[in-house]
Point group: C2
């Protein structure tokens, strides 16, 4: 990469916030007699297939909040919890608005913000992402979402959409993500890329895909490491 | 109004930031031999007609940055400055990204944010609004723009769009604005309304339309007064 980008666009679920630990904790706190970690894994397993239904046109544009709810209703059946009432389902579904950041996230983003414009590029909807930012203190300069582009990642309209919003060349935007498929799709659109290790994303099942991939411009253990590498003062 | 809204959506140009004073100051600082205040007034005069071309379908969706530039090119001719080069035009056009907030804006928004979700609802584009927020320290929970809805205010899709993003009823959203026509259009969509006096919006030409209108839910001298009326602690 010749010059540093101007905008850092962050994947959110897994990269900025700990979805597995947060969902597991909320489910366990409900005392339903199910394993919160297994419940979190099952809920998230429905995420990509549900988005793919939208991406492939089987389903019209549908916010993640609604996809989460469709999956939740199925997962509750699987876990023998189909007697949960409507108000409890609505509250549990909003657990995705209350996800906790990784320990380094707020401090790292604050450092990165001192030198770059920092925005989200998440499949989460705008309402979800703004509630999450307010709750967790995430200091975004701008919240961008698949909802703005009416395309879910990894559709190219999302990555190119960020560059277009700021009227920059794709190479002036860097995607920061803990997922190599997301980074590869961004790279195919010409964006710069930074991989962040998030070994605990899936809880006890440690990730085994954290090796350094020299195709990406940066590889960092967390946001503080990325801030160091990008010359953002502590 | 029976219950307080959950989301406060703010008009930006004139309500949060002092466009006239900021543009006049930048133009005067260029030492072009023209009156900055008159230049600011002329530039802004083209704003509503340009948006109306988009609203009425004479022009496809066009960001404010580009409308500002089209108007700027005409105003430069009017003021005998048509020799300004391309780089200088681009820089001057971005003066709208650098507008200064009113003296109470940051402190007032911070107080209001402690109790409400605060977002923009501006005809400014996302890139402009995020640059402005970063530059001026405006603590938005979410930046919403006509660009998200592909409709300019006062089209109802903008006011109803805010409620839809948060999945709220229109009455759970309150538009905060210094312009009665904006508030009236929001009210027609069912939103709550708060009028803010901004007597200096047009510079030396003091506004004469600041009287209390009992059709609106709140009337405040500035954001600190609004925060007092809404019970947000100092």
């Amino acid at each position: 990469m010749k010059t540093l980008p101007q905008v850092l666009a962050f994947d959110v679920f897994g990269t900025v916030v700990n979805w597995h630990g947060s969902i597991a904790r909320e489910v366990n706190a409900l005392g339903l007699g199910v394993d919160g970690a297994q419940f979190a894994t099952a809920w998230r397993a429905g995420y990509r297939p549900a988005m793919d239904r939208v991406r492939h046109g089987d389903l019209g544009w549908t916010r993640i909040d609604h996809l989460h709810r469709m999956i939740l209703d199925e997962v509750l059946v699987q876990f023998g919890l189909n007697n949960m009432d409507e108000a409890a389902r609505q509250h549990l579904n909003k657990a995705w608005h209350r996800l906790s950041p990784w320990a380094d996230s707020v401090r790292g983003l604050t450092r990165l913000k001192s030198r770059f414009t920092i925005c989200t590029l998440s499949n989460g909807n705008l309402g979800l992402l703004s509630n999450m930012a307010k709750n967790a203190g995430l200091p975004w300069d701008l919240i961008l979402s698949a909802e703005v582009f009416h395309h879910y990642k990894p559709d190219p309209q999302t990555y190119l959409g960020v560059a277009d919003v700021f009227e920059l060349e794709p190479a002036q935007v860097m995607l920061v993500a803990a997922h190599k498929d997301d980074l590869e799709a961004a790279q195919a659109c010409g964006l710069a890329t930074a991989f962040i290790e998030r070994p605990d994303e899936f809880g006890a099942r440690r990730r085994d895909d954290l090796g350094r991939d020299h195709a990406f411009d940066f590889h960092a253990t967390d946001f503080l490491d990325l801030a160091d590498q990008l010359g953002c003062q502590a």
